[in-house]
Amino acid sequence: MARAAVQRRLTWQLATVDAVTDETPRVRTLTVGVPGWPGHQAGQHLDIRLTAEDGYQAEREYSVASAPGEPVAITVERLDDGEVSPYLTQELQAGDEIEVRGPVGGYFVWRPEDGGPLLLIAGGSGIVPLRAMLRHRQQTGSTVPTRLIYSARTRQDVIYSAELMELQQGDGVDVVLTLTREQPPGWDGHTGRVDAELLRELAWPAGQDPLAYVCGPTAFAEAVSATLVGLGYPPQRVRIERFGGTGGP
């Protein structure tokens, strides 16, 4: 029975940090080796638990940043008042151990057979699960027409910048960046928020039966998804994942 496959007890286990990669001054990718990792889908999460010397524990969920089959990675944005992210982005080093459990989630997941055209819309570090989807699309040779609209505060805050530029150059993926807090000299991309005007111009027409994934801070995700529904997207074709960081789009 198919159900049996998903009824898997979740247990905390020790994982080893194999590599740390700085993505931006505030954002770091941790590649972790998890013994017996059962594999994940693009868009799933990983829970992390930190335990202080006095026994106090803090748990957080992070999107898996890597595609299925790739080494497990998470990309973490440092929130200055955070309990967990400063440790993950500033103190943890390759060779250290952390407690993890996962993969978890299944709603905000894309599989090649889900099709498209795909519209991926990210605000800030909301790019992370969408990046796993983009890598999975590439890895499986999917030809689903795909457009990514990614809103970041400044050029420097764009995560996976080089990788996204490469995708843009070859692979049937349109990458649209919009900067909300600066307009650097020579910038020929968009500026300002992902609003109705931008989406009217860039979202696949509703008549093409597009599938949208929107990930970002709550206000961003809700504004974008409401606009897509206003453009005729059926609500069930707009999957949303909200996160609570203060990083902003």
Partner: protein, 82 residues
């Protein structure tokens, strides 16, 4: 505090129900609306984790961690189906 959604507690739900629950459908005991769990409103900053119906806003589920145990209140949930 902004609401998150059911995706943010995928691990908690999996731990409590021993199964992936964000794709399940939960029916609100107050208004009767059925919603995908991934779309429910989730507040992590309350004393405990509070899950509300996105249609009527009433509380559907509450989870409180106490001495290593998770206490679960599902009185606002009429039905849940995978």
């Amino acid at each position: 505090m902004d609401a998150l959604d059911g995706n943010a507690i995928a691990g908690l739900l999996h731990n409590v129900f021993s199964s992936e629950m964000t794709t399940a459908t939960g029916t609100c005991a107050t208004c009767g609306s059925a919603s995908v769990v991934g779309e429910l409103m989730v507040y992590l900053q309350a004393p405990g984790t509070v899950v509300r119906c996105p249609v009527c806003g009433n509380i559907m589920m509450v989870f409180v961690r106490r001495k290593g145990m998770t206490c679960v209140d599902l009185t606002g949930l009429a039905h849940m189906a995978a």
